[in-house]
Symmetry: D2
Subunit: 465 residues, 4 copies
Amino acid sequence: MKNPVKVVTIGGGSSYTPELMEGFIKRYDVMPIREIWLVDIEEGREKLEIVGALAQRMWDASGHKVKVHMTLDREEALKDADFVTTQFRVGLLNARIKDERIPLSYGMIGQETNGAGGIFKAFRTVPVILDIVEDMKRLCPNAWLINFTNPSGMITEAVMRYGKWDKVIGLCNVPVGSIIMEPEQIGCKEEDLIYKFAGLNHFHWHKVYDSSGNDVTLKIAKRLLEYAEDPTAPRNIKGCKWQKDQLEEANILPCAYHRYYYLTEEMLNDELREYNSKEGTRAQQVQAVEHELFELYKNPNLHEKPAQLSLRGGAHYSDAACETIASIYSNSYKQMVVSTKNNGAVSDLPDDCVVEVSSFITGHGPLPIAFGSLGDFERGFLQLMKSMELLTIEAAVTGSYAKAVEAFTINPLITSGSTSIKVLNELLIAHKKYLPQFKDKIKELEDKNITVKDDVVRDLCERGL
Amino acid sequence: MKNPVKVVTIGGGSSYTPELMEGFIKRYDVMPIREIWLVDIEEGREKLEIVGALAQRMWDASGHKVKVHMTLDREEALKDADFVTTQFRVGLLNARIKDERIPLSYGMIGQETNGAGGIFKAFRTVPVILDIVEDMKRLCPNAWLINFTNPSGMITEAVMRYGKWDKVIGLCNVPVGSIIMEPEQIGCKEEDLIYKFAGLNHFHWHKVYDSSGNDVTLKIAKRLLEYAEDPTAPRNIKGCKWQKDQLEEANILPCAYHRYYYLTEEMLNDELREYNSKEGTRAQQVQAVEHELFELYKNPNLHEKPAQLSLRGGAHYSDAACETIASIYSNSYKQMVVSTKNNGAVSDLPDDCVVEVSSFITGHGPLPIAFGSLGDFERGFLQLMKSMELLTIEAAVTGSYAKAVEAFTINPLITSGSTSIKVLNELLIAHKKYLPQFKDKIKELEDKNITVKDDVVRDLCERGL
Amino acid sequence: MKNPVKVVTIGGGSSYTPELMEGFIKRYDVMPIREIWLVDIEEGREKLEIVGALAQRMWDASGHKVKVHMTLDREEALKDADFVTTQFRVGLLNARIKDERIPLSYGMIGQETNGAGGIFKAFRTVPVILDIVEDMKRLCPNAWLINFTNPSGMITEAVMRYGKWDKVIGLCNVPVGSIIMEPEQIGCKEEDLIYKFAGLNHFHWHKVYDSSGNDVTLKIAKRLLEYAEDPTAPRNIKGCKWQKDQLEEANILPCAYHRYYYLTEEMLNDELREYNSKEGTRAQQVQAVEHELFELYKNPNLHEKPAQLSLRGGAHYSDAACETIASIYSNSYKQMVVSTKNNGAVSDLPDDCVVEVSSFITGHGPLPIAFGSLGDFERGFLQLMKSMELLTIEAAVTGSYAKAVEAFTINPLITSGSTSIKVLNELLIAHKKYLPQFKDKIKELEDKNITVKDDVVRDLCERGL
Amino acid sequence: MKNPVKVVTIGGGSSYTPELMEGFIKRYDVMPIREIWLVDIEEGREKLEIVGALAQRMWDASGHKVKVHMTLDREEALKDADFVTTQFRVGLLNARIKDERIPLSYGMIGQETNGAGGIFKAFRTVPVILDIVEDMKRLCPNAWLINFTNPSGMITEAVMRYGKWDKVIGLCNVPVGSIIMEPEQIGCKEEDLIYKFAGLNHFHWHKVYDSSGNDVTLKIAKRLLEYAEDPTAPRNIKGCKWQKDQLEEANILPCAYHRYYYLTEEMLNDELREYNSKEGTRAQQVQAVEHELFELYKNPNLHEKPAQLSLRGGAHYSDAACETIASIYSNSYKQMVVSTKNNGAVSDLPDDCVVEVSSFITGHGPLPIAFGSLGDFERGFLQLMKSMELLTIEAAVTGSYAKAVEAFTINPLITSGSTSIKVLNELLIAHKKYLPQFKDKIKELEDKNITVKDDVVRDLCERGL
């Protein structure tokens, strides 16, 4: 029997932490926990204390003697860790508000993992994750890094390519949603279906077969076309219907986020509607939900994950993380869809890049399934997006403005030209605090008196948020 | 000494024919001509007669005894041909007006070789070129097909992939323009510079070195950034300035048409301005120029290419064609930028697809230079565009509406979503006469009473043009 | 619950059949059998009757009501089959004697799956398997073909590439041997180790990790170097010791058959010793064992697999087959090492070729693990062998003598030159009866009075065997 | 007009130097020479003085005022060089005697660029060329390195891969021989034929077309099969006849050195005959020729390349070098077959490795022609050989004995097993003086009292040669 493990969660003050605790408690028999460390930064201290107390209450109620440590000292926490999970959000939800509102203020998709917003989330996160990796090299060189900070695929790629750290797995809840919801669409159970996912995080496709090997992909596609609201999609992108001819002939299922690319017009209109509404964009809505959640978390009698968490979005994220960790620990070959090194799994992309593919999780990490090549349509799109990711990561690491322009130019959700440059510049200025690598360029822009147009964002900036 | 050659020009009634004749006359000593056949269709009979008579006058004035045959019978013309050049335009300039105006009526780029228009030009042209290839297999199985009908790269790819005809070369005047105009930007001559082009038709990049091997790409880039109007660009896309940081760091020169992709916003605005102007879109302007040209051509005393032809656009096209043909004939290893089978020249694309690359033209056809791999930015963009081309060609051959939707979805100049489907449907209806492969879908659309919104196009349709 | 299955075994009169029956009986609860058909040809009628009777006795003793049909009519048997297993040997063991003795008579490796012998086994078998596939297309188009006729990888490749039949899996007992024997070398159990195999049939490598993810490949390698006789190798190739420096630095384990390539000299000497001994080559020894086995099989009181079968070699073959079939039937994701379509699993080889790799067996067939790229040494060797396989298969399908010469020239176990041509020619003549595709060349050789040098083979030929 | 150039020749005391001088004199009008530096080492001082004096006499007789400097100080010579040519032979011809005789003493091919000998020539040469490159980085960072020290392809690969120096071109006279001799075989002239070479140094193939584009490869192949002695092959490998069926069906021409791989048996027999003859192996014969040559060179009245040099072998080597250099200098796009970075030219090999391909030589270096993919036979063989080269170079750089064993194991001219290890060990001992990177292993072997079997070699070793 292996030793009980030490788990460290960076961004431990997140509202997701209770779900993570629930996941570990549920799997305690498979993977005993030695200690849990929740790490956060000064700005997150209050949330950390609230959620940490709840976490401890949950463990206490479980009957397992597990100590939940709360700390702002990352190095103390990382020492001898077995698993490090990352769910931090650089700049908190306010940063996401900027990622969403600045592009929308110019009539472009504003989103936290796609388009201009996704690029900037990477710009803010990559330097931090690379710092964490440097700490891990010193303090816990045998630990696994389980990342679910978004954009999860790019973060994983940055860790491998620039951090030179291969023991990393990127997670996403989107494939989990498909696997849970699709079987019931065609009247069967999860164990009756065989899944093959291939692509990138938030940009993958999948094929489905029944247990006799028959291709049921089209059958599922036809069902999804019947719905007004796609039940397999995350809360924020349910409403948009696929183009029927395309979906039926493709005979491969896109992921929910592909709507941004297949149905850009509709997605943009939907976002603009929110942008102009009283509730504001998704980040603003989530901010409200989170506020309520933390109020609930404070209740000293609460010792389980409250039902309201499911409104937060991101369902299954923590469950996927716990399942992955437990599967590494117990070498159980559990099939998961994860971001990992390609090694030929998707033949249309180089061996050394990160892809999101069906994998069996072992004590040696993920064994990805070789999917082969995609069709003409999917292949070209996929190769473009991998280029976009590589340019974004390079810009995030080097602070190259030209690479940032290239990432913007090639991104299918950004219309190239002078407005896109305005969006880029405003985002640089608005996120200044978290973009030290771009400080020279930001200085240059400030000297030109470039300011942010959107009122909400300008207000946040002025308040130093 | 080899035998004098028989040249056949499909679309012989084109206004470009005089330039072609001039090219052959200029090279007569290198490549003697046995006979020239200008082929056209019934709708082009009048233009054929005008331009054919001028062509004969040009040859008579040259002192060479060359008979210019005019015919509507393609098979008669192709018999025992040595070289077949194609410069036909299915649906004439009216079709181009539709390609341009329908997308613009919905606020999208309307262009004849890029975006929705380019896709539809391929839809109309691919079936015709494949017919021509079938004729050639019977009537002149050893002939070379020299294509400069646009979209030149896709047409070449269709000929190789679906026509199974490898003796084809696709030409374009854009690289010729760069090679002629760039040396003077940095104060040297064409023979002082070494060029390496790689990419696709209207989507290629190039590197430039001086004769000592020094990279002068950046030097040229910096010069181009100084101009208000790029002197190396074709007439229709001169005005738009590259993004400085991007161009300087890339250290590889985009082609003029890349403006559509790097500066979509500006290009669209420029086209919308024309769309809303009295003169109308480029096709409408060209129609006026052409009318004047044919008036000039009628002059029985004219026996040379009139200077006004240069206003037509497409300068150097015919010269490139004549140079290529003469180089095959004389096995002269002339360096040209042509569309040909990849075979590894651009490592980022499969061996068996068509690319536009620097090549040495021999009696055995083009020997393409191995360029290697492009940078992250160029690579992803290129791979996307090749997918877009393959989907377009497949739709053109099979009449698959779903493949057409995929081509539209992936095309960077088309915003995906319901408006793009409207544009697709209107284009299908407007071009009905030339799209037999889509007839079932068109019938279905007509049954739904889908009609064309743009007045100019609707008028053309109603007049059966 | 799925329906009970119909299993058809081509080459049903083989001595392996009792092991196959044992395997099915053992797994009856997981996969109930409806009926079993043992198919053979006229020459094998007697053996079929003996082994078929034993098979029926085994089922009767098991308590399951399963009827074992014996037939020489392949079409009758194949009708509505669920699984077809192939274990036939074209030309029986006499053909193997020729495969071994003719090369050895000229001082070259004589072996049934490697070198000249392996090439000729493919020449005899490929046309037959392609015939079977044609029957299957008509009679049981949904069946799986589970091949363990050698050379198993090439047969699988032929079925996919030329037979256009994708529901095929090639099996081999060599990886099974490694997986069973290696854990005890380092004091652990099979479930404690994680295996990654990649390569070709009889030409694969593997990496091993413990359940905590640590690489234990070198640890196993060091143990294997201590033995006089490698306990993980098949009976026929135990004796030869790996070169220490090479094995230790490679940090990847070769398969037992790699001895033919890493230690050609020793393997040849060993074979020559047998060739010159009274017992003769391996095929002659096996012939004796088989004779004894069939005497045992005749015993009407025998109703289980006799222990002596293990002397026959090929242990675990049938078990691997039964396990694979049961795993497809029950969609159990059992990890097996099988020959299947590459699809990127081994990045050093094209997607569309067959490789032997670790795979999870599902109701949809094998899901191969993406292994990535091998080291310089393994990669070049592997690519050479795949070429050798493709040339062999092409020669087997087309009867091209030139392709046969190329396969011989490139095969690392054959010294190229005039002696190799003699060996090729004698093999053609000796196997004449089973090589209709080469009949013109064989006629030409006979007209030149080319005869076989080896006495034993000449005697077989004269007796029409 | 560019400036006159400074040329430095490392190994200047070689008997080839007069041919090199002749080449420069012949091309003086195209490329004026400022100064020539012949560099050698202490052991070569006498030869350097003889050949240097002749070189100066040749220039004086030419009427051009060019000073030929002779020096043992490489750094002095390299300062501000424009072109550095390398034709040195580490260990002189005595080392080649060892490369040839040790393998042959064990019945294996003994050759200076193939098999065990070629591997050891690389072991001795790679460290020296990497030293030279380090000097060049300091002393002449803009110079081109024109290598014709064998094994020319591996040396070029080492310079690029480990020396990180891209301005290097590897030359070989074998393709030159084909291009000169083949046209007359089919009754035409060099300028009438179009050549496409692809592969590796001493392991390339080529296709030939006439000036009308017709494939004449087979026509040439048929002619070559008629000869008793192949007129296109170098002196040392003329006698062996290709296998007719194979050559005719392949429809691609192998290079002369392919005889070692296609006809190993005959080549070995031929070498063994020489090995056992009074004249000895090729190196011993060349030693005699060289002795005579230097006697001739001493003649103060000789001021041109003596005719006897052609007996030396290696004809056209220097001419190829001069032509390449002049073509770089004058940016003349001369077509040559050179070792250069692949970049897709041969799609079967990675972009970043060195291949030998048809290229156009410009002021920016070679522009290789994209050949595409080879047939199954050639591809597998080529990929194997590239692996062999990479392993050899890695062993040469690192001194890894295991990598050396791998190179030996995979080399098609070496039978793997214990005898090959003996050959490896004896070669290490015999070349001890020039293999500092292997000194630990050599010490270990000496401690085991391993000695050299061949008398001639043992004698050389004992005499410290």
